[in-house]
């Protein structure tokens, strides 16, 4: 069968196994935020009343360009969804290769003409790319819908499309940066994400304890022998999502990572990926 067809089928399989993590949660968040926005606007209008509304906007307060409420709203949604997606992805990867061994369904999957490489690739891409990507789309959708709700609700105060236009411009700017962060995070987070996937494929039980325990053991050994913990510190840094690792401040400009560090992260990620494929091939039974 076509490699792409098989990969898409494997992605679909993951969505059947983890519907809550992969699509129900982001869809639910979109709906929740839109509902909250509608409720806020409705209640606000009801409370203040459209005729007796005395709130006076300062023209600067109403700046919907860079640095204004539009950027704040976009950053809030994109950053919060991003952070959530990273936690969801780690949780997904921790069980991705463990559960199929625990319930012995790996014997069924291995009885099909799908290679260990394809299976591990699908799960790695799901954790590194697909889940964060879906949550990013959900964040953008949330921001757009909330913008529409706010614009509609505020038209009596601000006739015209000033709010909508302003929020849209801010959203596009922040969204562009979010896409850049999303792409860089794939490389930045690869060592840790693929470490978690490796543990999921090899642990005989309690994968979370192994995933955290071994790095902590490395920390203890490094501190004891070398008085510094370079390896642990490096992994710890890469365990921190990019926006919180000091690599990106939406107010300060574009996100970036050091080129050499990026290559190192990618290389380690590839090694861990290879080990995971090898592990699934040879050490799949609990």
């Amino acid at each position: 069968m076509n490699q792409v067809t098989t990969l898409m089928a494997l992605f679909q399989r993951e969505s059947w196994e983890h519907p809550n993590l992969i699509w129900r949660l982001p869809v639910g968040l979109v709906i929740l935020n839109v509902v909250l926005a509608i409720a806020s606007v409705s209640l606000g209008l009801q409370y203040f009343g459209t005729e007796n509304f005395k709130f006076e906007f300062n023209s600067q307060d109403l700046s919907f360009d860079q640095g204004g409420p539009g950027q704040a709203a976009a950053t809030f949604f994109l950053l919060s969804y991003f952070l959530l997606s990273q936690m969801v992805a780690i949780g997904y990867l921790l069980s991705a290769l463990y559960e199929e061994r625990k319930d012995r369904s790996i014997l069924f999957w291995k009885s099909l003409p799908v290679s260990d490489f394809q299976v591990v690739l699908s799960k790695a891409l799901m954790g590194l790319v697909v889940i964060p990507g879906l949550y990013l789309l959900a964040a953008m959708l949330t921001f757009m819908l909330v913008t529409v709700v706010l614009s509609l609700g505020m038209t009596f105060l601000l006739p015209g499309t000033a709010l909508f236009d302003g929020f849209l411009m801010a959203g596009l700017a922040v969204g562009g940066e979010a896409l850049r962060v999303f792409a860089l995070q794939i490389i930045w987070g690869a060592p840790v994400f693929l470490w978690v996937l490796l543990v999921s494929g090899l642990a005989r039980g309690q994968p979370l304890i192994w995933a955290m325990g071994i790095p902590l053991l490395v920390l203890v050994v490094e501190k004891s022998l070398l008085s510094e913990a370079r390896v642990f510190d490096w992994f710890y840094a890469h365990a921190t999502p990019l926006p919180f690792a000091g690599a990106w401040n939406p107010m300060m400009g574009s996100a970036s990572i050091d080129l050499a560090d990026g290559f190192l992260a990618a290389g380690i990620g590839l090694i861990l990926f290879g080990l995971t494929v090898f592990g699934r091939r040879h050490f799949h039974e609990i």
Partner: protein
């Protein structure tokens, strides 16, 4: 390639335990082979080595391919059903069909639907909501629709009631068995597969005890209901086993002429189950005496 499976000097060790000890056998194409042995004999270990699911020493060839090199490619022509319960519990029946169709080049969705239509399995149901028997039916429907050349079954009817077991083998007979298709089945329930088998392999403590075509087994081994008056004479022919009966005993003989046996009592075709028990019991006694 006249053999579907060729196993040479297959060995597997788990720590101190030698699960398989230089086992060699062949499964001819078109054969229906029963791999029979007690618990811990090495049946599942042998099947997993054949499927490339575990490391092993020795040489294994399946449909001309080595399971070491690219087992997933081999699985386009090989179907495998382990004991009940390896289908993922979260998987819906429809999704199982959809997924298999997407990744298996020979999967016939219409055939799968036709097979499932004869069962009570709802297509929108998840595996966890199905009974054990239904799970096995679903798995079998998937495998039969894959149009494989070799089907390997490892205790496929474990835990199923007699109705499901009967339906299972009937389906295999109707939908799978043909001249060019091969079946290797490991089971304890020897009696219900005896009518399907063309070849027999007994395995015990990691070693092959018997490897023969069923016709050869029937001509070599005979069961005799020995009358009381002939008991001494019968024992003189060194039977494999002796089971006391109200009048005399039932004995199984290896390689004794029909004429000699006819004098002892009523001869009949030996059952695989009783032959298996006789051989395993004899091995146990030999080991104990050593």
């Amino acid at each position: 390639m006249s053999n579907a499976i060729s196993v040479q000097s297959l060995s597997k060790r788990f720590g101190d335990h030698q699960a398989l000890d230089r086992v060699s056998f062949e499964v001819p194409k078109g054969a229906v082979v029963g791999l029979i042995g007690p618990n811990g004999a090495g049946k599942t270990t042998a099947l997993k080595a054949i499927l490339g699911l575990s490391a092993f020493e020795g040489t294994v060839e399946v449909l001309g391919k080595s399971p070491r090199s690219a087992p997933h490619q081999m699985m386009t022509s090989v179907g495998y059903i382990s004991d009940v319960g390896i289908l993922p519990r979260w998987l819906k029946v429809n999704d199982a069909l959809k997924f298999t169709q997407a990744i298996h080049p020979q999967f016939d969705l219409e055939k799968a639907h036709a097979i499932l239509a004869k069962t009570d399995i709802p297509l929108k149901q998840r595996v966890k909501a199905l009974s054990k028997g239904m799970v096995t039916q679903l798995h079998l429907a998937l495998v039969l629709a894959m149009d494989v050349q070799l089907l390997i079954l490892d205790e496929p009817t474990l835990g199923l009631d007699i109705v499901y077991r009967s339906q299972f083998y009937q389906q295999i007979l109707n939908e799978f068995l043909s001249e060019d298709r091969t079946l290797l089945i490991s089971t304890h329930q020897v009696e219900e597969i005896e009518s399907l088998l063309t070849h027999l392999i007994f395995i015990d403590q990691g070693k092959i005890r018997l490897d023969a075509a069923l016709d050869d087994v029937y001509s070599r081994y005979r069961a005799v209901d020995v009358v009381k008056s002939q008991m001494s004479a019968a024992r003189g022919l060194k039977p494999l086993s002796e089971q006391a009966q109200i009048e005399g005993a039932c004995m199984i003989f290896d390689g004794v002429s029909a004429e000699s046996l006819a004098e002892l009592g009523t001869t009949r075709r030996v059952g695989i189950a009783e032959l298996f028990v006789a051989m395993m019991t004899r091995e146990t006694k030999s080991t104990a005496s050593i």
